[in-house]
Symmetry: C2
Subunit: 139 residues, 2 copies
């Protein structure tokens, strides 16, 4: 990546990258669950539900790479692997919680806004096909 420059935009680039990192489909779920204590692979898989092995592996791997979780292998039979949040991982828990609070707090509002927005189009022209980006009602 580019070196960190002076401008705000550059700062936000870094932020954006981090957000992309944790903004993917599963990372937040995994981190949050792990925030309640270490878990084994299939425990997580079962608890989270709907995540494939592949995605769980990739998510965990990425988290480990970023130093957010530790991977502990017990060379037993059957094998056992524990995943646990590092200190850094725990520190992420709080910002995520803040965002989570915001999300839950405004979830209804946002969904309502979406329905309003999506419905505005059809209300004016009923026979129009569903366009991915309907026309704007000029203010």
């Amino acid at each position: 990546m580019e070196p960190r420059n002076k401008h705000v935009t550059e700062d936000c680039r870094g932020v954006s990258e981090i957000l992309s990192r944790i903004g993917d489909k599963w990372t937040v779920l995994v981190v949050t669950r792990l925030g309640q204590g270490p878990l084994r692979f299939n425990e997580m898989r079962r608890i989270i539900g709907g995540i494939s092995q592949r995605m769980l592996t990739l998510t965990l791997r990425g988290l480990e790479r970023d130093g957010l979780v530790t991977r502990t292998v017990f060379p037993t039979i059957p094998p056992r692997v524990d995943y646990e949040l590092t200190e850094l991982g725990h520190s992420l828990l709080e910002p995520v919680r803040v965002l989570g609070d915001w999300a839950r707090q405004h979830e209804t509002c946002i969904k309502a806004s979406r329905q309003r927005f999506d419905g505005t189009d059809e209300a004016t022209s009923a026979s129009s096909p569903p366009s991915p980006m309907g026309p704007r009602p000029s203010a």
Copy 2:
């Protein structure tokens, strides 16, 4: 014990959705810039830099749909469109800032961890202790 435990996953689903929303490539940049005041389309385009018309349009459109920004059209020639954060949009600014602070604060740490992770080619020559610190198979 904690009834909250059972709901965390569901809660996080919603959070995850919101995160996906703002976790895309440009949303955070746009919102942050808009947090400093209303902007016109090409102003933003120029300020952010590297974003295509298409992506800026789509990002703005999504933000508008979610009720986070307002779009004000001035039917002049040449046309002029102002984008501005709504109250809801401003409320998002804070959580984003929190996450942004975290990101900047741990940016170095994370990058270091990545390099460490990518570069770690464990020899495994040492004894594999029965203690939970087994070697990680290289990718």
